[in-house]
Amino acid sequence: MLKLEHISKVYPAGRNEYAGGIRDADFNLEPGTFFTMLGPSGCGKTTTLRCIAGLEEPNKGRILLDGRPIFDSEAGLSIPMHRRNIGMVFQSYAIWPHMTVFENVAFPLKVSKAQRYTAAETDKAVNEALEVVGLGGYGARSATQLSGGQQQRIALARAIVHRPKLLLLDEPLSNLDATLREGMRVELKRLQSELGITAVYVTHDQTEALAMSDVIAVIEKGRVQQFGSPEDIYFRPANEFVAGFIGHTNILRGKALGGAPDAVTVELGAGVTIRCHADCEQKPGETVAVSIRPENITLAGLREAAANENSNSLSGQVGSVSFLGNVLHYEIRVGDQTMQVESNPDRRFEPGADVAISFAPRHGRVLPVV
């Protein structure tokens, strides 16, 4: 459906420094996919989206939409954005203040060159689109009188009214307040699957990405770090950056000593070793990162810790503890590293207490250092 081949858009900067832009983005989306580009601000995800929309021209590469090239640097081809037939929702919604709701949504039909719409067809399409986003009957209102959430829906209606095959969404929920955002998240996903439209979604919010996407690309400093399903990204991060960016995690540095892929021995400090799971090859002696999610760690008093061969056990000392309601959050010093641990508030260890930390080898993931 949408295929990017080696798309690069680099902004001039000093030598090797990264100054925004994207390098060598390369992926292929099946029709009907909800695809999310996730990354910190300034990582190049919006640039990629704008390249697809035609708002920016990549320096290199090829973009195919429905098998047809819409951009090709080698052939000198760049179809202007208004002929790409793509729907887009902007971060600021970009609702034109001088038009009514109806006029805003009808605009793509009015300016369409590919197809002439009669007044009746326009009416029908616009009202359908407004109905779909839950704003039926709002057509005559002035667009500026509506709330942020409603403007968001108008923007969405405008993006789908001419039935594009591809829908681009540039951080559409970032300007909404928290409760509204959750509601819209569910609704956006429902809409997308009902319409069967392919969606490319840009966000820096991992929760949004995990909740809505079929496929996620995690991007950092202009490079795609991992491309995969939400489960892949969360449970099987490709590297230290992805593990750290998605959800909370503890990253421990250590030296790989070898072993079977599901039981790699890693030496953390002098003499302290743990057994971990690895999806990638390591050379013995190589420095690696081990990611352990706080929720997979069990905390116990030092003496109570039952020796278990299938579990790793480390001893540490409570640095601080804070009550978060459903859990207690600890910072625990283990050797010269600090770990975040969350545990049931039924039992509380005070700062200074010696504790045992244990986790299963499959929860400690060996990752390449970035």
């Binding site: 708002l55 000198g76 202007p80 208004h82 034109w96 405008r158």
Partner: protein
């Protein structure tokens, strides 16, 4: 070049030649067309000035060989030195007067709890609509030998002399300063309006008294804006023509601009070469000044502190000193508005210019008004002026709408267009008159002396003003609003028509009104370009003044100013709403 090559090369081996390519981009054609239009409008005037200044002009106005005689004459004439000196003194002191009057008022009105604030705005708005000649005429009468001020002086002291000799450098400075103070008020009041009151209160909380606060915080924060404005007024005063012509020339005080005017109008045949050399020197001076102005203006907003968050201007409490501020504003109102209007009314109701005496009251009549309303001459003046103003304002706004967008959105070529449209700023009005006079005389089309000649010259003169409005307007429009139109399927031209133009309309209307208002007052350009059949209000008024027909001038001027003031109110309401 490289891009065209690349495209044609690609085209040879392209597999899908039916697809649209970059070279068909409408934005490219828009840029190209605008580039040609602007080049044709702006460049010939500069070129011909330079050509005339370094070439011999034959008696039939054709070009002879190269010469540097015009420049050597310029640099060796002693009169030039005097004129330069006069220009500088005139500009410096009128800037000081304008800043003192306008600046103090701006701060008092915007930042304190004084009353009578509407008076200050009224003075400003009415002055926007009133031709300078009218003001100058009124003050010349007020301060003149037979005027009420010297009259009172004689009555009080019993002497036969005068308190003020208005046809002097002092008179010129005073009147020019008065003329500019409303503009200073307008521009500085917007600076003071956006100043954050928290900063002043923080100074008070740190233990500073009122005057320490005003000096160390209020004034110093506005300093970048004040400096930039001072240089701006200085430049305009160097270029000024009305006051030097009406006050300076009769008093035998020549400045640079009147020298240029005389070398065309009072020399037979017109000394085009010398006037051109003179103009080129003026261009260079103004160009250098504008360069520094640009640097200052960049810093002007350095300390402006609008945050958008809970911004609430809190007026300064002047306490027992409030009456001082109020007295100043009322004094200003009387001096800048009431007295000139009364003087004009007096002149309009008298059969000839005479001092205010009880005996003269019986001679009052509406005769002058009757003449003005029944005369075809005045009707033509008004119609011509409105026509030219409207054409120039429309043309300048349309051109700069596109240029402003191309430039603000950093489209290829936008910078060049921006510079072309800004270039006329370096032309003092009189120099632009000289330049266009020569351009129109050398084109084969008989355009000189027609309304079109004036309309074209005015359009060029006001391009920079239109551009500032549209450029700033485009910057305030979120780029996603236009990108959304593009993604929705609208080409660049459709987007400009359906999205950009409506969104920009407040700025465009403001620009149109502003240009119309100043174009209808313009004297310097028109003085050299208006022919017998293309007389405009400013030139007509100047002639009336020179011929001593003060009564009709005043009557006509009052009517005209009343109409223009209505427009100025509309303009002000618009500008205020937008801010």
């Amino acid at each position: 070049m490289a891009m065209t090559e690349q495209i044609s090369m690609n085209r040879a081996g392209a597999e899908a030649p039916s697809l649209p390519r970059r070279s068909r981009n409408p934005t490219f054609w828009l840029t190209a067309v605008l580039g040609v239009v602007l080049a044709v409008l702006v460049l010939p005037s500069v070129a011909i000035l330079i050509a005339r200044s370094v070439m011999i002009t034959n008696p039939d106005a054709s070009f002879g060989g190269l010469t540097i005689a015009h420049f050597t004459r310029f640099f060796t004439t002693t009169g030039v030195l005097t004129s330069t000196y006069n220009s500088i003194v005139f500009a410096v002191f009128s800037t000081v007067v304008a800043l003192l009057f306008g600046g103090a008022q701006a701060w008092l009105v915007e930042r304190t709890n004084m009353r009578f604030k509407p008076l200050a705005y009224m003075t400003t708005i009415i002055s926007l609509g009133t031709p300078y000649i009218l003001y100058v005429g009124a003050w010349l009468f007020l301060l003149g030998k037979a005027g009420p001020i010297n009259d009172v002086f004689r009555m009080v002291t019993g002497s036969r002399g005068v308190l003020i000799d208005v046809y002097s450098m002092f008179g010129m400075v005073l009147i020019e300063g008065f003329l500019w103070s409303p503009l200073v008020f307008l521009l500085l009041s917007s600076t003071f309006r956006v100043a954050n009151a928290d900063l002043e209160e923080a100074a008070r909380m740190s233990g500073a008294n009122v005057f320490q606060t005003i000096w160390n915080v209020s004034i110093k924060m506005a300093m970048p804006a004040i400096l930039a404005l001072a240089l701006f007024v200085f430049i305009r005063a160097v270029e000024a023509f009305e006051v030097p012509a009406m006050v300076g020339m009769p008093g035998g005080i020549d400045v640079l601009t009147t020298d240029v005017y005389k070398s065309i109008k009072e020399t037979i045949p017109p000394d085009l070469g010398y006037a051109s050399a003179y103009s080129v020197v003026l261009l260079v001076i103004v160009g250098i000044l504008l360069y520094f102005y640009g640097k200052l203006a960049k810093n002007a907003g350095k300390y402006s502190s609008i945050t958008g968050k809970s911004f609430r201007p809190r007026p300064f409490n002047l306490g027992p000193y409030r009456w001082v501020a109020e007295a100043l504003v009322i004094f200003n109102f009387v001096l800048l508005l009431l007295l000139p209007l009364l003087a004009l009314l007096w002149l309009a109701l008298q059969p000839f210019m005479r001092a205010i005496r009880p005996s003269a009251f019986s001679a009052m009549s509406f005769h002058n008004f009757a003449t003005v309303f029944s005369s075809e001459y005045y009707r033509d003046l008004a119609v011509n002026t409105i026509l030219i103003g409207a054409i120039a304002a429309t043309a300048a706004v349309v051109i700069t709408f596109f240029v402003g967008w191309l430039s603000a959105r950093r489209k290829p070529g936008g910078v060049v267009l921006d510079q072309l449209a800004t270039a006329p700023l370096i032309f003092p009005g009189i120099v632009m008159g000289v330049a266009f006079l020569m351009v129109f005389l050398s084109v084969p089309v008989p355009i000189y002396g027609t309304l079109w000649a004036l309309a074209i010259a005015y359009t060029v003169r006001y391009l920079p003003y239109g551009l500032r409005y549209s450029y700033a307007g485009v910057l305030q429009i979120h780029h996603e609003l236009e990108e959304a139109a593009g993604v929705a399927g609208a080409g660049p031209l459709t987007m400009l028509r359906r999205i950009m133009a409506p969104l920009l309309s407040p700025a465009l209307v403001s620009a149109w009104l502003f240009i119309f208002l100043i174009a209808t007052k313009e004297l310097a350009v028109a003085a050299l370009l208006a022919g017998p059949n293309s007389q405009v209000v400013a030139v007509g008024m100047y002639d009336l003044w020179v011929n001593g027909q003060g009564g009709e001038l005043a009557a006509f001027g009052l009517v005209w100013a009343a109409v223009m003031t209505c427009l100025a109110f509309v303009f002000y309401a618009f500008a205020r709403n937008k801010a």
